[in-house]
């Protein structure tokens, strides 16, 4: 499988020279007929696909101002050309955001603008051919919709919007991506991306309760489908079993336990991540969001809290009210939805949580700002809360914290390399190469500041790092959940006094 070279990590980042076509071969598996049809898309490439694609493009231009304005406004200034982690990691010029956008823009120009109709070569307009479609499939699946380019564009042109449109056009003509569309199917029928049915979920949570009680001596609950609870927790399904995700889930449970609130998860809406966004499908995004609304109504909760997940938080924070609101049946004293970090941070502010920071003294931490939390959403009531709040939580739970270089965090953060529906084994080369800018920044603080671990608040980031850290010579367990740090350091007030040996704690 590893028939590619892992990029080198250099002392300082260098913008690579162009190497044309080096990633043209990178394509995810195409969705099978049944997964396509389940989402209302044609099973395979339709006969008159050129015509259908243009029709869909027109439809989307009419529905999304972003798409229309962004197709028209680019001046090719080059500001974005060195901003995409996939370009920096692969050197393929079609991974420069403007070049990626141009794959769609060249077709828009050819068929829908005066200059492109009559002077195609002058303005770089191109016919929609099979080659162009192949380029679309390759390169619109090399964009993690992380929005880094949009921060630097003088007009705010967001390649994520273009990628989503292109993916929706491809779905509409029958060329969907297997990973995303299979997952949407599972979330829409079973309730989560992993396809875990209720009994499996209940079993897993029961196991966690036993494990935590064994470790701490405290009966911390992991409730499922408990009607009348105050809070519905919606979390990425990876939190139920993957490492280090599950340690984060244990952290949320401990925080709820300390807060003394009643809470529950739902087996009907057991997934925070909304892959409808990745394929640009408003309708799919909406139907998955409505499951959360229905779960909240059926369980009679007063608040909705989301677990650690990046793109999920974008859909939750920015879109949920639009897609499935209004949430006037919930407690108006709390934002809908709330992020678990906001919840924990509030308790810290009110001095309701006690930490023994020394529990995390074996680590020196840095924090990876997940792209969609950083650039597409917010936490708290102030601009920039999405940067301050997770860091405040880490500092409350740990003694040793160091930030990575300023051009690799905050609004300029690099995507982990696996976001936007690319976290699949068939894109391993892209994922490894796309992680290079993040790994370079991580290496700096590892070498200069003795950093041992990187914390994140996104299920995709956590899975992606677990997989790619070893390619760059780091340990796969370097990646930790923010609420894992909380879990380690949190002092449970009803813990039995000093009969706990700390060994079991460290193994957790």
């Amino acid at each position: 499988m590893a028939d590619f070279e892992t990029p080198e990590l250099r002392e300082y980042p260098i913008i690579p020279k162009l190497k044309e076509g080096v990633m043209a071969h990178s394509k995810p598996y195409v969705a099978k007929v049944q997964f396509q049809e389940a989402l209302g898309f044609p099973g395979e490439l339709v006969d008159n696909w050129e015509e259908k694609a243009l029709e869909k493009l027109d439809d989307l231009r009419g529905r999304y101002r972003s798409l229309q304005v962004y197709l028209d406004s680019c001046v090719k200034c080059g500001a974005c050309t060195d901003k995409c982690h996939y370009y920096l990691g692969t050197s393929d010029p079609k991974n420069m955001p403007v070049a990626r956008q141009d794959l769609l823009r060249q077709v828009y120009r050819r068929y829908r603008t005066f200059a492109g109709k009559y002077f195609p070569r002058l303005v770089g307009a191109k016919d929609l051919t099979r080659d162009v479609l192949d380029d679309w499939y390759s390169y619109f699946h090399q964009c993690s919709q992380c929005r880094r380019c949009s921060v630097f564009c003088p007009y705010g042109i967001d390649t994520a919007e273009i990628s989503m449109a292109a993916r929706e056009i491809m779905d509409t003509i029958g060329v969907g991506q297997k990973y995303c569309n299979e997952i949407i199917g599972k979330a829409a029928t079973i309730g989560n991306n992993l396809g875990l049915p209720e009994p499996a979920l209940a079993d897993t949570l029961e196991g966690l309760e036993e494990e935590v009680e064994e470790d701490t001596g405290v009966p911390v609950k992991f409730p499922l489908d408990q009607k009348g609870s105050e809070i519905l927790l919606v979390t990425p399904s990876a939190d139920f079993f993957a490492e280090p995700h599950v340690d984060g889930l244990i952290g949320y449970a401990k925080v709820f336990h300390e807060a003394g609130v009643s809470w529950t998860m739902s087996s009907y809406a057991s997934e925070a991540a909304n892959f409808g966004m990745f394929i640009g499908s408003y309708e799919n995004m909406r139907s998955l969001s409505l499951r959360i609304r229905k779960a909240a109504e059926d369980l009679g909760v007063k608040r909705i809290v989301f677990g650690e997940c990046g793109h999920a938080w974008r859909v939750a924070y920015s879109f949920l009210n639009t897609l499935a609101g209004p949430f006037d049946f919930l407690d108006p004293n709390y934002p809908v939805p709330q992020h678990i970090c906001e919840f924990t941070y509030d308790l810290i502010q009110k001095d309701k949580l006690k930490f023994d920071k020394s529990e995390n003294d074996h680590m020196t931490l840095t924090f990876h700002d997940s792209c969609n939390v950083a650039r597409a959403s917010r936490m708290g009531d102030k601009a920039g809360g999405q940067f301050d709040i997770p860091r405040a939580i880490i500092r409350a739970a740990c003694n040793n914290f160091v930030d990575m270089p300023a051009d690799a965090i905050g609004e300029a953060t690099f995507c982990c390399g696996g976001g936007g529906g690319l976290l699949t084994d068939d894109l391993m080369e892209l994922r490894v190469k796309g992680a290079q800018p993040r790994m370079e920044a991580y290496k700096r603080v590892v070498e200069d500041n003795g950093v041992t671990n990187v914390a994140a608040i996104c299920a995709i980031c956590k899975s992606q790092f677990t997989k790619v850290l070893p390619y760059y010579g780091f340990g796969m367990t370097d990646i930790v959940s923010v609420h894992q740090l909380v879990s380690e350091a949190l002092v449970l007030s009803d813990a039995p006094s000093d009969d706990n040996d700390s060994d079991t704690e460290a193994e957790a």
């Binding site: 972003s66 406004s73 010029p93 879109f319 639009t322």
Partner: protein, 242 residues
């Protein structure tokens, strides 16, 4: 009446019509197309006034471009603000009695042409010498810069080297405003300058120059970051709820 002023009168009426109609059509299209989701890019302001401030920063200081690349920012800013001063200076050709401040900026506008052309040459050089920018450039991207450079250079030649009869030029444009055709100097430099300006006006609404209205309609820049507080629903999305 000789053919020359008639030809140029027709050219400028046509160019103005195409520019205005073309731009209004695009602006109406942008304004009418719904933005169904809240997609402001960080740092996203949480209030309307914050959005206005952000937009002013973007349009006046090119804040995002400054973050992205200092050279492009420098050349781009020199060009745009040189051009702005030069355009304001040209107001005197459209006013019988010039406003006080138009008189005042005349000397600045004169030398702003240097900033404008230096900026354009810098942008042209980047397009040729930076491999990434060369890769994304179509012939029209070079031609657009050359067109602007030619407009600037021909104007500068008239300002600093060989003067044309600007009193007659003013008479011609004031005449156009009253729909009367007055004489125009048959000066080759002037005619080149005017032809290129008319060409620029004509291609403005069908080219990437649409970034000028586009920036104000960019949802990632003009939206307030308040999706949890205020429900945002496009008309076509509301239809889905029925």
């Amino acid at each position: 009446m000789s053919a020359l002023p008639v030809t140029y009168a027709i050219l400028f009426y046509a160019a103005t019509l195409l520019l205005v109609v073309g731009l209004v059509r695009k602006i109406v299209l942008y304004a009418r197309t719904p933005a169904p989701l809240k997609i402001p890019t960080t740092p996203a302001p949480v209030s309307r006034s914050g959005v206005v401030l952000r937009m002013v920063h973007e349009v006046v200081l090119f804040t995002s471009l400054f973050k992205a690349t200092k050279w492009t920012w420098l050349f781009g800013w020199l060009f745009h603000f040189g051009l702005l001063l030069v355009l304001l200076r040209h107001l005197r050709y459209f006013q019988a009695e010039t406003w006080f401040w138009v008189d005042l900026i005349q000397p600045f506008g004169k030398y702003a042409s240097y900033a404008m052309v230096i900026g354009l040459l810098g942008l042209f050089a980047r397009r040729i010498f930076v491999d990434r920018v060369r890769y994304i450039s179509a012939p029209s991207d070079y031609l657009m810069l050359l067109l602007l450079i030619a407009i600037g250079a021909s104007g500068m030649l008239m300002t600093f080297v060989t003067h044309t009869d600007i009193v007659m030029v003013k008479g011609f444009f004031l005449g156009l405003l009253r729909f009367s055709i007055e004489p125009l100097p048959s000066d080759l430099l002037l005619l080149t300058h005017l032809t290129l300006v008319a060409l620029l006006m004509i291609i403005f609404p069908i080219s990437k120059l649409l970034h000028a209205p586009g920036v104000f309609f960019s949802p990632s820049r003009n939206q307030v970051d308040n999706p949890r507080e205020k429900r945002h629903l496009a008309p076509w999305a509301a239809e889905l709820e029925k």
